[in-house]
Structure formats: C-alpha cells, structure tokens
C-alpha cells in the first residue's frame, strides 16, 4: 500500500473514531449532572428524571458538540485562510464583539421596562451573535476589504483590543454584571436547549457546505497567493466567503456557549498530527474533533464539583494548553523523518 493510501486510510479511521467517540460521550454526558447516573435508569419511571435527562442534559451535550464542531470548523478555515498555524476563530475580533454585546445587554437590563422587554426577546444569545458579527464587519471595513491578509489580521487585532476595552469599561461602570460577564467569557453550556441545538446544527450544515465548496481555494492558498491566482482561483470572492463562514460559525458558537478558548486552535492541529489531508477532509475532521473536545470538557465541567459547575473555558484551556505543551516538547526532539 502506498504512502498516499495510508494517509487516506488514516483520515478515514480518524473520522470513524471521532464519530464513535461522539456517541460514547453523548451517552456519558446524558448521565452526568447534579444527580448522577441513577437518573438515567429512572428515566422511564420518574417524570422529573425524564425531564432532567431529556430537556437539560441531552441538549447540553448535543449543544456542546455543535458548538465545538462550529469552533473546529472555524479554526481550520482561519488557519487555512491566514496560512498561520496559530490562527484561531477569534482572530477577526469576534470574541471581543460578543463580549461587548453581552456586557451592553446585561447593563441595560432593568434600566427601563421597554429596554428590558426588548432585551428579553433578543436574549443574551442574540446580543452576543450581533456583537460577534458586527465586530467582523467592523474589521472588514477597517481593512477596506479582504485584499490584503496582513491588513485584515491587523484590523482584527485592533478591533479585538478596542472592543475588549469597552467591554471591560462596561463591567467597571456596572459592577453588578461583572460576575455574569465573567461566566460568559469563560464559557458554559448552562442554558443550551433543543432550539439552540437546532440553530447551531443548521448553521453548521450551511458553514460546512460552504467551506467544503471553498476547500480548493484553501489548498491553493497554501501554495502562495501568486500561485493560487495563477491557478484561476477567484481569490477575493473566496476570501469574502471564507470570512463570512468564519464570522457565522464563530458567532453562532459564541452566542450559545460563551467564549471557549483553544478548541478552534487545537482541533486542526490534533487532526493534522494524525492524518495529513487536503482541506476538504481537514475541515470536516477538524469539526468532528472540536465537537469531541468540547463534549469531553463540558462533561468534566459538570461532573468534577457537582452540583456546582466549572466554566467550560477553563477546562478547554487546561486541556488545550497541556496538549500544546506536549506538542512543543515533541517538536523540540525532532524525529529522524525531519531533514534540513
């Protein structure tokens, strides 16, 4: 069997493995919570247990998978678009935009009845989504389009820093929202219900379809911008579409679960360490990997100090940071395959 076939088999194995892991974690996630395993056994007899498992635990677990899948997808797209292995989905300022949206929404609750009514209808999720997408649009405006990748990156950093500063200012002016803001910024699947899952799944399908159609562009970009243009790829249009995918996927994930670190950064790296494939398969596998990562972290967050909860973002940072440390350690002792 040639080396290429081996890579393809590795990719397929990884895909199947991740799907199986998702199923296992789904079952485990349904069993973990403030009450423990016995709730699952009582599902048929006790209506309260049924409600807890069906209305709370299952949607949280499925929601964690969906959010992780969206972040993994966005991470793979970001790393391909910016040709930088350190890129993550929040590069274009979407994280700070979402934080500002939530801070403003929390701050305006209770200020006036009209404001409160509108805010309840919009919801914190709507505010976070609007903030994330708004920040990306601001970045595009600042960079005057998607022509120059470096300018886009720089504009994204600027927007992220400035909006983040405004969010911190809002927290200082209205200290009652500080704790809720911190909970949002560290991430949690607390109130993810079935409607949120359906929304995230729908957006995942759209983004995955778009990204898969644009995977050739990402492959071509890895050869260099001049070469990609010479191959006949419509780069500006593809870049706009990829940025749109990035904004949509990140906004949807952040709106439901808050700012979860490392999943978007680590998922593509984890996939690449097992199987080297083109972007078409990489984006899909990265999405599956992100889903599994976040499901596992969410389960741990709910289980470690039950009935209290840890913020999911803390666990993903610890797990993701640990993985990156191990990766660095492995690369500092290069294998024989690496030649100068």
């Amino acid at each position: 069997m040639t080396a290429m076939d081996r890579q393809q088999r590795m990719a397929s194995c990884l895909g199947v493995g991740l799907l199986l892991a998702s199923l296992v974690l789904l079952l485990l996630g349904a069993s973990v919570g403030s009450t423990g395993f016995e709730t699952v056994f009582k599902v048929w007899s006790d209506p309260l247990a049924q409600q807890i498992v069906w209305d709370i635990r299952l949607p949280r677990t499925v929601g964690a998978w969906s959010a992780g899948a969206l972040l993994g997808l966005a991470g793979a797209v970001a790393q391909g678009l910016f040709r930088n292995p350190l890129a993550d989905p929040y590069l274009l300022g979407s994280a700070s935009g979402a934080a500002l949206g939530v801070a403003l929404a929390l701050g305006f609750f209770g200020v006036s009845p009209l404001a409160t009514e509108w805010l309840v209808r919009l919801g914190l999720t709507g505010a976070a989504f609007a903030g994330a997408v708004g920040a990306v649009l601001l970045t595009l405006a600042l960079a005057k389009g998607v022509q120059h990748t470096l300018r886009l990156l720089l504009a994204g950093v600027i927007v992220g820093v400035v909006l983040g500063a405004f969010a911190s200012l809002a927290m200082l002016m209205v200290p009652e929202v500080t704790q809720a803001m911190q909970a949002f910024m560290l991430g949690s699947t607390s109130f993810v219900g079935w409607s949120a899952c359906a929304l995230m799944a729908g957006i995942w399908l759209v983004c995955m379809g778009l990204a898969w159609m644009l995977s050739h562009a990402l492959d071509g970009l890895s050869l260099g911008e001049a070469t990609a243009a010479s191959l006949g790829l419509p780069l500006p249009m593809m870049r706009v579409a990829l940025v749109a995918v990035l904004a949509l996927a990140t906004g949807a994930a952040v709106a439901q679960t808050g700012l979860i670190a490392f999943v978007g950064l680590a998922a593509p790296h984890l996939v690449r360490s097992v199987a080297k494939t083109t972007h078409g398969r990489l984006i899909f596998l990265s999405s599956l990997m992100g889903g599994v990562l976040l499901m596992a972290a969410d389960m741990l967050a709910r289980w470690l100090i039950a009935p209290q909860e840890l913020p999911v973002g803390v666990l993903t940072a610890v797990l993701g940071g640990g993985y990156l440390l191990w990766l660095m350690h492995r690369n500092s002792h290069p294998s024989a395959a690496q030649r100068s």
């Binding site: 919570g33 403030s34 009450t35 309260l48 409600q51 807890i52 209305d55 709370i56 635990r57 949607p59 929390l106 609750f109 209770g110 409160t116 805010l119 309840v120 919801g123 914190l124 200082l172 200290p175 009652e176 929202v177 704790q179 809720a180 909970a183 949002f184 949690s188 607390s190 109130f191 993810v192 219900g193 079935w194 709910r302 039950a306 009935p307 209290q308 909860e309 913020p311």
Partner: protein, 289 residues
C-alpha cells in the same frame, strides 16, 4: 504651706497627662491593622456603600465629606463629592478632601497608597449578619457614638418583626435566590441566605455549597423551589430556560423580581437589613399559596 504648692502642681500635671493619654485609643480593622485615634474623626470618606449607610445609621451623616459612586442611601449622600469606585478610587480627590478617616472594603488595594500619603485608613467589609453588628459597633467606637447596641437592637427587632409578620404556612416555603444569570445562587451561608433563614423559609442551596455557588441549572429543576427571587438587572426570562417550565415556582408564576433600588437593599450587608427582610417578606406574602 509654701512647700505643698509645688507638690500639688506636680500632682495636677501628672493627672492631666494621664487623662490626655487615656483619650488616645486604638482600634483594629478587618485586616488586623491597628489604627490610632486621639480624637474622633470629623471628616470621613467612605468607599463602600454599606459603610456609608452604617455611618448614617449612627446619626453621623454630617461627618461624611466624600463617598464612592455606588453609595446612594440616604439621599443626602448623593450631594457629596464622589471619589470614584471602591476598586478604582480617585486618590487625588480623596486627598484633596483632607479626610481624617477613610473607610473602605478589605478587597481594595489602595489602602497602602492612602496610608503612605498620611491618611488614616480602616478596611471593614461586612459579609453576614454578625459582621453587620460587629462593624456597627466598631464604627460607633471610632466615632465615639454611645449606645450602638441600641441601634443594633432596633435593627434586629425589625428583622424579627418581619419574620413574625409571615403566617406559619410560609415556613415550609422553599426559596431559590438567583444573584445573576450565570447562574449564581445565594446559599444559606451568604448574607441573603441568613436573612431568608431568619424569615423562617428554606433555601434550596445548602450550606455545603458555600455562599455564592455557580450551580448546575438542573439542580434547581430537581430542587423544585416554591418561590424564586431575582434582581431586575438579572431577570432575563426564566421561562425560556430548558427544563425550567416544570418548576413549581415558574408554573405557578411565583417569581419575585426586585427593582434595582430593592436589590440594593436586599443584597447589601448593611444596617438596612431590616428593610431588606421586609422586602423579602412582602414578596413571600404576595406569592403565598
């Protein structure tokens, strides 16, 4: 006769020295730092709303020359110059007011800076009912206000009165107090939890979880409280939360939403705790079966 005069003068001088020495006293604040006073402070800057209210409760509002931006009771303090927040005070503004005492929370980091500028700083932070009493008496000692115990007895009696105003049927009510939407709950060991205990109702969050735990929402569903109390600022539509529609308090619409003014009173561990108890008691009466 002529020989006893100088001896008498010496005795008088000795007695007056002792008398003036006895007038200087030292008090330890919550950090364990001893602060010395030779006379009661007349110009006070307060950087914590509950301490502002304590000073005014002792009838010494006129001694306040500056407060933080979050102190809003009584109304007279709103006319005082504001010197920033508790965590980010304006040092220059404080020094410009020339206070002889600055009251602040223990979690503030500016104590060292103010002390090095020559100001007297006391860090006090009431976190539960016992703290409110202790700090009331401590500030009374500093300000040389007599009979602080009487002030406390009035407050305490008012809390008991609020508890007695509730019929016996409310004693079995199980309450969930949500501090913010993360969700953070007020446990039994928090200030709010203690007030609820004094009112005789049960808190679904036990002591073992600490004062302000970040709980799993399904815990609330399983505990099935009869009444939910939440501040207006954090009321973001409880019905929409997955699985919460079946909670008794939500099915029967027994949710108390406090206005920001009411939240201030209920949440702040200060001398208005009786009013806070009355607010919560009113909520329980309104939502009674």
């Amino acid at each position: 006769m002529k020989k006893s005069c100088p001896r008498l003068l010496l005795c008088l001088a000795a007695v007056s020295c002792l008398a003036s020495a006895a007038q200087a006293w030292q008090i330890a604040d919550d950090r364990g730092v001893w602060v010395t006073f030779s006379q009661p402070p007349q110009r006070i800057v307060s950087l914590l709303p509950s301490l502002t209210e304590t000073v005014c409760e002792l009838g010494q509002c006129q001694r306040l020359v500056g407060v933080d931006r979050y102190s809003n009771f009584p109304d007279s303090v709103r006319n005082l110059p504001q010197v920033g927040g508790g965590l980010d005070p304006n040092i220059e503004a404080i020094v410009a007011l020339q206070p002889d005492l600055v009251l602040m929370a223990t979690s503030s980091r500016v104590a060292e800076q103010l002390h090095s500028l020559g100001l007297k700083v006391m860090a006090l932070e009431p976190k539960n009912h016992a703290d409110v009493r202790r700090i009331l008496e401590k500030i009374a000692q500093v300000l040389e206000v007599p009979d602080a115990q009487r002030v406390w007895r009035v407050i305490d009696a008012a809390v008991s009165a609020a508890a007695q105003s509730l019929p016996a049927s409310t004693k079995k009510t199980r309450v969930y107090f949500e501090v913010n939407g993360a969700p953070y709950a007020a446990g039994e060991s928090s200030f709010i939890g203690e007030t609820l205990t004094r009112l005789g109702v049960r808190n679904i969050v036990p002591v073992s979880l600490g004062p302000f735990p970040k709980i799993n929402p399904e815990f609330v569903v399983r505990a099935n409280p009869d009444v939910i109390m939440v501040g207006d600022r954090n009321y973001s539509g409880l019905q929409g939360r997955p699985g919460w529609a079946g909670i008794r308090a939500i099915k029967e619409r027994r949710v108390c939403v406090f206005t920001p003014a009411q939240s201030d009173v209920v949440v702040r561990p200060g001398p208005r705790m009786a009013q806070g108890a009355r607010i919560m008691a009113q909520c329980l009466l309104d939502q009674a079966l």
